[in-house]
């Protein structure tokens, strides 16, 4: 129980602090405050995807359908956070760079993550038989996750010249992060992670309840 109170108080305090402290990046100004939410959302998007992949591996190893249930639940949460990260990022891009979409490497990678999630759900919709659906979508999720390191770590290194604007994000993120900015940012990261695990826990318990119900009916 105590951690829920902590989460509530912490997140509320973080939100207030993120608006009353000076903007994290002076050049961009007030709109740079979106980093406090945008980056944690993007992080949860990747974390949820990784969790989904771990559950997929466990499913393929054990063939127990509840692991597949967990994999879908975390994928659904990840999709929502991915959508949030895309929308907040796009709004920010409009203000800072003048257009909603610039195809800088980071925008590309979040877009591809969104596509992967979409393809994952499309695949699940296309297979009726539960065991086969679990196996096929599990394999796809693992296979797709293998490409993510290419997107996140390698791609920004080979196509930097196309998007010089990206350096603004980098400098504000990695070099000019002052002490108060750092505290708020990492607090936000931690709080978002706790929130994600709470939501995951809830959807897992709901999933189990649904399974019990189905077993009773059949």
């Amino acid at each position: 129980m105590w951690w829920k109170i902590l989460l509530f108080v912490g997140m509320t305090a973080m939100i207030i602090a993120s608006y009353v402290t000076p903007a994290p990046q002076q050049q961009i100004g007030e709109s740079s405050r979106i980093f406090y939410h945008h980056i944690p959302q993007a992080w949860i998007c990747v974390l949820a995807f990784a969790t989904s992949m771990v559950y997929s591996i466990r499913y393929l190893r054990s063939r127990r359908i509840e692991f597949d249930d967990r994999a879908v639940e975390t994928a659904r949460l990840g999709f929502v956070f991915c959508l949030l990260a895309t929308v907040t990022g796009s709004i920010f891009a409009r203000i800072a760079w003048g257009s909603f979409w610039n195809w800088d490497p980071r925008e590309t990678s979040v877009f591809v993550l969104l596509l992967i999630y979409g393809a994952y759900f499309a695949l699940r919709g296309a297979v009726q038989e539960p065991d086969r659906r679990a196996a096929l979508s599990g394999v796809y999720s693992i296979f797709a996750f293998v490409t993510v390191p290419f997107l996140i770590f390698v791609l920004p290194r080979i196509v930097p010249s196309l998007h010089p604007d990206d350096s603004i994000v980098d400098s504000s993120m990695e070099f000019t992060m002052g002490p108060s900015v750092r505290v708020i940012f990492f607090a936000s990261l931690a709080l978002y992670t706790v929130l994600y695990f709470w939501m995951l826990n809830l959807s897992g318990r709901i999933g189990r309840l649904v399974r019990v119900r189905e077993d009773l009916e059949s």
Binding site: M11, R33, H37, L209, V212
Partner: protein, 37 residues
């Protein structure tokens, strides 16, 4: 500066709404789990 406070208010409303929704969901799930046991 006023814009900041408006944005803060919106963010807080969204967060508090989400928190209480999750709390309610949590309690409901707990009740159902106990009933199943």
């Amino acid at each position: 500066m006023d814009g900041n406070y408006a944005a803060m208010a919106v963010t807080l409303v969204v967060w508090i709404g989400l928190f209480f929704y999750l709390m309610r969901l949590d309690n409901k799930v707990k009740r159902l789990e106990e009933k199943n046991r």
